[in-house]
C-alpha cells in the first residue's frame, strides 16, 4: 500500500524538526572547540566563531596522549561489548523460554542492581577494588562495566526472545534439531535487532563511563577517553576548546558503530521470515 503524500510529508517534518533539535546543541560544542582562548560561553550565536582555530584538535593529537586513550577505550569497550552480548543473549534466552526455580526472583534481582544510587556505591566499590589489587587494571573496570550493562541487556534480550513464537523452535525440534543448535541457528538470527541494541548499549556503557574509571585508573597512560577528557577540566580554568574537541571526537566511533550496526535495526528483514 502506498503512503499518501501527506503522511510522508509529516514524517519528514517530524524527523527534520528533531534532527535540528538534536544537532543544534552539538553545533555549539563544535563552536566551543573552534574558539580561541578557552571560552565555554559566547556572547554571539554564530557557530563558526570569528578567528576560529583548529589548534585544539592539533594539540589533542600532538601534545596529548589522545590516541593512547582512544586505544584504551576501544579495548575496554570492545571487550565489554563481547562479554555483554554473549552473557546477555544466553541469560535472556533462559529467562524467556524456561520455567525454572527462582526465575521471577532472578528477573527482579537483576533489576535491583540498578536501583542503588551510584554515589553511595563508589566508596565500597573502591575498597573492594583496592583490596583485590585491581587498581590500575582494566580487569576491574571490565567486570564493573559488564555488570552495569548486563541488567538492561538481559531484560532486553528476554524481551526480544519473547516476541519470537516458540513454534519456531518446536518446528526445529521436530526436524531433529537440538536445543543449543535451535538457539544458535534459528533464534539468534531472528533476534539480531536485539543483539544490536545489546551491543550498542554495552559499548556505550563502557565508552562514556567516567566516575568508576576515575576510581580504578590512577595512571595517566591507562586512562580511558572520558578520563582523559575530564583531565582538561579544572574548577575555574578548564581548557574548554580541548574539552569540546575531544568530546566531539569521542562520539565519532559511536556514530560509526551505530551506522555499522543499524542496517540490522532498520533493514527490511521482517520477523515473519516465513513468507515474504
Amino acid at each position: 500500500m502506498k503512503e499518501s503524500i501527506l503522511t510522508t510529508l509529516s514524517r519528514h517534518l517530524l524527523l527534520i524538526l528533531f534532527a535540528a533539535i538534536s544537532i543544534y546543541p552539538v553545533l555549539t560544542v563544535v563552536s566551543i572547540s573552534l574558539r580561541p582562548g578557552d571560552q565555554l560561553q559566547s556572547t554571539d550565536l554564530s557557530i563558526i566563531p570569528p578567528n576560529w582555530t583548529l589548534n585544539a584538535y592539533r594539540e589533542l593529537f600532538t601534545e596529548q596522549p589522545f590516541l593512547r586513550w582512544l586505544g584504551n577505550s576501544l579495548l575496554v569497550s570492545t571487550l565489554v561489548t563481547l562479554t555483554g552480548v554473549v552473557l546477555a543473549s544466553i541469560a535472556g534466552y533462559a529467562l524467556s523460554r524456561f520455567k525454572f526455580i527462582g526465575r521471577q526472583a532472578t528477573m527482579l534481582a537483576i533489576l535491583t542492581t540498578q536501583m542503588f544510587p551510584a554515589t553511595m556505591l563508589l566508596l565500597p566499590l573502591y575498597i573492594l577494588i583496592a583490596k583485590l589489587h585491581l587498581v590500575d587494571t582494566f580487569l576491574g573496570l571490565l567486570v564493573f562495566y559488564v555488570s552495569t550493562a548486563l541488567p538492561f541487556c538481559i531484560w532486553q534480550m528476554k524481551g526480544f526472545y519473547d516476541t519470537i513464537p516458540p513454534s519456531l523452535e518446536e518446528a526445529a525440534h521436530i526436524d531433529g534439531c537440538g536445543r543449543a543448535s535451535a538457539f544458535w541457528l534459528i533464534i539468534l538470527p531472528i533476534a539480531v535487532p536485539g543483539l544490536v541494541i545489546t551491543a550498542l548499549f554495552s559499548f556505550m556503557t563502557a565508552w562514556s563511563e567516567y566516575i568508576v574509571a576515575a576510581q580504578v585508573l590512577q595512571d595517566r597512560d591507562m586512562f580511558t577517553l572520558p578520563l582523559g577528557i575530564k583531565s582538561f577540566q579544572a574548577s575555574m580554568s578548564t581548557q574548554w576548546a580541548l574539552y569540546a574537541a575531544a568530546s566531539l571526537l569521542v562520539s565519532v566511533p559511536v556514530v560509526i558503530v551505530f551506522l555499522g550496526l543499524s542496517r540490522y535495526l532498520v533493514s527490511g528483514m521482517t520477523l515473519g521470515a516465513v513468507k515474504e
Binding site: 552539538v26 535491583t112 536501583m115 571490565l142 515473519g272
Partner: protein, 753 residues
C-alpha cells in the same frame, strides 16, 4: 560454521582477558614510587612535569608519579582512598581542605622535616599548623606551600579604562561610563563590571571593604554573617545591579570570563589563576590592579588569601614519607619557586623571594603583591565549608533579585549555624551491637524460611533441567561480584554514625539515620520533585522515541542521514552537552531565550535564576539526552512485528491509529518494557544532568532530586551514614514501585505464552 565462529569468539575473549591481567601487573621498576595528586592548572602542570624530571634526575632511586584531579574530586578521592587504607603519598592543593583532612585524621605532621629555622623562611601564615588532637599543646604542620596568594584582584581592559579605580566611587563611575547599549535594543553591548555571582568567595572583598568577615573576632570559627556591615556590603552589591545597572543579570564564572575576554566587560574581579590568560588574550589589553577602597568606609576591599602546597598522607610508612618529603622540600625550595614565579607569575611562599626585584619590575606581580598585602588569610576550619554552603543560596537569591540584603544576611547566618551543627555532629556507638547482629541473622533466617520451597526444590529441578541454570549463571556471577559487597557495606553504613567527626572510628548507632531521613523537612519536597522529574522525563523519552522510530520505519528518503543525526545526543558525551544546555539557557546570551523572543515574541525568561524554570531547564536537557536511546530500542522492536499482522488489521478495516494501538503497541511492549522500567530507575537516580545544568542545585538548592541531595549530604556535609540511609530508602522505593508495576503490566511474561 556456527560453532567455529563461536569458538573463535571465546578464544579472542580469553586472549584479551590475558592481555588485561598482563597490563595490570605491568611496570616492574626497582625505584620507589611516590604518587602526588594535584590540582594544578594546565599552565602549572607543564612546570610541574619539568621539576619532577629534575627531581628524578637528582634522586635516581625515586619515581614520582603525578596525577591531576579536579579540586572536589581530589578531596573526595583522597578521603575514599584513606578509608581503603591506600592513597597517594602526597596531595597538593589550597589550604582550605586541611581542616577537613585534619578532622578525619588523614594528613600527617610534616614538622619533623622542617626545622624552626627553615620554617621561619616562609611568609607568615603560609605554613598551616593545626593542634594535635591527642596533645593540645603540640601543633602539627599539615601543609608546606610552594606559593601564596590564590587571591582576587581587579582586572581591567586598558582599551576602555586608562587608570584603574582607587575607590569604589571611581569604580562605579567607570563602570557606568562603560555600560553601553550601542544599538538601543535594551541589551547591553558592554558591561562595566563582571564577576562570578555564584560563589560567595567572590563577595568576600565587598564584605571586608565594609568591615565584615565570615567569622566573629573571638578567634573561634563562629559565623558572623548577619552584621550591619555585611548588610551594607550586600546593599552595595545590589545597587551595582539595580541602581547602576553595570553588572549583568545572571553571571556565573564562565559568563564573566567570556564577557571580559571578548571585550564586552570593562572590568572583572578574578583570581590570580586567571590573569596570565587575560594578559595573553589578543582581543583585549588587560592589566591587573588591587581592588579599590570602599568610599563609604575608607577600608580597602580585601580578598581572602591562602597558601597552596603539599600535604602528607597520614597512612604512609616511614620510607615513603621520607621520600615524599624530599620531593616536597625540592618543590618548595627557592629555586623551584622562582621558576614558578617567573613562568606563571605566581607569588612565592618564601619571604626572600617576595622581596625579589622581579616582583617590583613586573607590573602584574607588583599589583598582585599589593593586593596580597591587603588580603586576609583564609581560615582552614571545617566550619568554613559550612559557611560557604550557607552563604551560597541567599547570595544567589540576592543577585537574582528575589530577596533583600537584610533577609539574605539573616538566612546566611541561620543556615550556617545549622550546617555547622550537622557537620560537627559527633556521636557514640550503641552498646547493643549484639542486638543488631542478632536482628541481621534473624532476617536471613526469615528469608530462608520464607523461600524454603524454592531452596528445597532447587536441586531436583537443576538435575531435571540443568540447561537454563547453566545459561544464566555466568551473568549472575559477574553481577554479584560487583554488587553484593557494596550493598551490604551500605546497609551497615546506613546504621552507623560515620561522619566528619567519626570518620575512621565509626560505629553502629541503629536507626537514627533513617529517622533523620524522614523527619528532615526537605525530604518530601525533594521526593515529589524526583517523581515529577522521573515521570516527565520517561514520558517524553518514550513518546518522542517511539514517534521517531515509527517515522523512520519503512521506506523514507534520507533515512541514513536522519538516523545518524537523531542518534547524536546519545553519542556525544553528556558531560559536555549538559553544559552546552546550561549556556543555551543563559538569560542574555542563550539560544533558548533568543529563539523564544524571535519566533514567539516572548520576553526573556530567567531560566537559571528561577527555581521552577531551572528545574524545567534540567528536564528539557535530559529529555534531549534520552530520547535517542528509546528511539533505538523502538526501532529494534518494530523489526519484530510481522507485517502480516498489519495486513490482517487492514483487512479488518483498522485505521492507522487502531493499527498502532492494537498491533504496534502490544508487540512493542515486551521490547520496550525493560527500557521503560530501567529508564525510570536510571532517571530517578540520574545525578549528572541536574548537577551540570543547575550547577549543583542552583538557584539556592531548589533543583535537587533525591540523588543529588544524597550527593550533597555526603560530599558537602560528610554525612556518610545519613547518605547511606537515604540511599537505602531510595532503593526500597524503587524496588516497591518496580515490583508493583511489573506485576501490573506482566512485563516479565511473554506475549505468546
Amino acid at each position: 560454521m556456527g560453532s567455529q565462529s563461536c569458538g573463535r569468539l571465546i578464544l579472542v575473549t580469553i586472549l584479551a582477558l590475558g592481555c588485561l591481567c598482563h597490563v595490570g601487573c605491568g611496570r616492574s621498576d626497582s625505584r620507589r614510587t611516590i604518587t602526588l595528586w594535584h590540582q594544578m592548572v594546565p599552565r602549572d602542570r607543564v612546570m610541574l612535569n619539568r621539576l619532577v624530571e629534575e627531581f628524578e634526575a637528582s634522586h635516581p632511586e625515586i619515581d614520582v608519579r603525578t596525577l591531576y584531579k579536579e579540586t572536589e574530586e581530589l578531596r573526595s578521592g583522597f578521603q575514599t582512598a584513606a578509608l581503603a587504607g591506600i592513597g597517594p603519598e602526597l596531595v597538593y592543593g589550597p589550604s582550605d581542605v586541611l581542616g577537613t583532612f585534619h578532622a578525619m585524621g588523614i594528613v600527617g605532621d610534616m614538622s619533623p622535616w622542617l626545622s624552626a629555622n627553615e620554617a621561619s623562611e616562609f611568609v607568615d601564615g603560609a605554613l598551616t599548623y593545626l593542634p594535635d588532637p591527642h596533645d593540645p599543646q603540640r601543633r602539627l604542620l599539615l601543609q608546606v606551600p610552594d606559593r601564596f596568594g590564590n587571591h582576587l584582584a581587579l582586572v581591567y581592559n586598558r582599551n576602555f579604562i586608562s587608570q584603574p579605580p582607587t575607590t569604589t566611587e571611581e569604580m562605579v563611575e567607570l563602570a557606568v561610563a562603560n555600560t553601553i547599549d550601542s544599538n538601543g535594543d535594551g541589551r547591553q553591548d558592554r558591561y562595566g563590571l563582571v564577576w562570578n555571582f555564584v560563589e560567595p568567595f567572590f563577595a568576600i572583598p565587598f564584605l571586608t571593604g565594609y568591615g565584615a568577615w565570615v567569622f566573629d573576632d573571638s578567634g573561634k570559627p563562629i559565623p558572623a554573617l548577619d552584621t550591619p556591615q555585611s548588610v551594607a556590603a550586600y546593599e552595595f552589591i545590589l545597587s551595582l545591579q539595580s541602581e547602576h545597572g553595570v553588572v549583568p543579570r545572571n553571571c556565573d564564572y564562565e559568563t564573566a570570563d567570556s564577557l571580559f575576554k571578548s571585550g564586552k566587560a570593562a572590568m572583572i574581579i578574578n583570581g590570580d589563576w586567571s590573569w596570565t590568560d587575560y594578559l595573553e588574550t589578543d582581543e583585549i589589553d588587560a592589566a591587573v590592579a588591587p581592588l579599590p577602597v570602599v568610599s563609604a568606609t575608607g577600608k580597602p576591599m580585601a580578598p581572602m588569601v591562602s597558601p597552596k602546597g603539599f600535604s602528607l598522607n597520614a597512612l604512609v610508612d616511614a620510607q615513603a614519607a621520607e621520600d615524599a618529603m624530599q620531593f616536597v622540600k625540592f618543590m618548595t625550595s627557592e629555586t623551584s619557586q622562582r621558576k614558578f614565579m617567573e613562568e606563571v607569575r605566581i607569588l612565592p611562599s618564601r619571604k626572600k623571594l617576595l622581596d625579589d626585584p622581579l616582583i617590583q619590575e613586573d607590573r602584574t606581580l607588583a599589583a598582585s603583591k599589593a593586593q596580597l598585602d591587603r588580603g586576609r588569610i583564609m581560615p582552614v576550619d571545617v566550619e568554613l565549608r559550612a559557611v560557604w554552603d550557607a552563604m551560597r543560596p541567599p547570595y544567589q537569591s540576592l543577585l537574582g533579585g528575589s530577596t533583600s540584603p537584610a533577609k539574605a544576611a539573616r538566612r546566611m547566618q541561620h543556615n550556617a549555624l545549622a550546617s555547622i551543627d550537622i557537620i560537627q555532629q559527633q556521636s557514640a556507638g550503641t552498646r547493643h551491637l549484639w542486638l543488631w547482629q542478632l536482628a541481621g541473622l534473624a532476617l536471613c533466617g526469615a528469608v530462608i524460611v520464607w523461600q524454603r520451597e524454592s531452596i528445597l526444590g532447587f536441586m531436583p529441578d537443576f538435575r531435571r533441567q540443568p540447561f537454563p541454570y547453566l545459561l544464566i549463571v555466568p551473568a549472575i556471577v559477574v553481577m554479584l561480584a560487583t554488587v553484593v559487597f557494596p550493598f551490604f557495606y551500605n546497609v551497615v553504613l546506613s546504621l552507623s554514625n560515620m561522619s566528619l567527626r567519626n570518620f575512621q572510628e565509626w560505629s553502629i548507632v541503629g536507626l537514627r539515620n533513617y529517622v533523620d531521613v524522614f523527619t528532615e523537612a526537605k525530604f518530601f519536597g525533594v521526593l515529589l520533585k524526583t517523581l515529577v522529574w522521573t515521570l516527565v522525563n520517561v514520558f517524553f523519552h518514550v513518546t518522542i522515541g517511539v514517534a521517531l522510530a515509527i517515522a523512520l520505519n519503512g521506506p523514507i528518503r534520507g533515512k541514513a542521514v536522519y538516523r545518524v543525526l537523531l542518534i547524536i545526543p546519545w553519542a556525544v558525551p553528556a558531560y559536555i552537552t549538559a553544559l552546552t544546555w546550561r549556556s543555551m539557557f543563559h538569560y542574555d546570551y542563550g539560544a533558548v531565550n533568543l529563539i523564544l523572543g524571535k519566533f514567539l515574541g516572548l520576553a526573556p525568561l530567567n531560566w537559571l535564576g528561577e527555581p521552577g524554570l531551572a528545574f524545567t531547564a534540567c528536564i528539557v536537557a535530559n529529555v534531549w539526552l534520552g530520547f535517542p536511546f528509546m528511539m533505538v530500542i523502538a526501532l529494534g522492536g518494530l523489526q519484530g512485528i510481522p507485517q502480516e499482522l498489519y495486513e490482517a488489521a487492514r483487512i479488518d478495516g483498522a485505521n492507522r491509529w487502531e493499527q498502532f494501538r492494537n498491533v504496534t503497541l502490544p508487540l512493542l511492549k515486551p521490547v520496550l518494557a525493560p527500557a521503560v522500567v530501567l529508564g525510570g530507575i536510571w532517571t530517578f537516580n540520574n545525578l549528572n544532568v541536574i548537577w551540570l545544568v543547575s550547577n549543583g542545585g542552583e538557584p539556592a538548592d531548589q533543583t535537587h532530586i533525591l540523588v543529588s541531595y544524597v550527593y550533597k549530604a555526603v560530599f558537602s556535609f560528610y554525612r556518610y551514614g545519613y547518605g547511606a540511609a537515604l540511599s537505602m530508602v531510595i532503593f526500597f522505593m524503587l524496588l516497591g514501585v518496580s515490583v508493583y508495576s511489573l506485576q501490573r503490566t506482566r512485563a516479565t511474561e511473554s506475549v505468546y505464552v
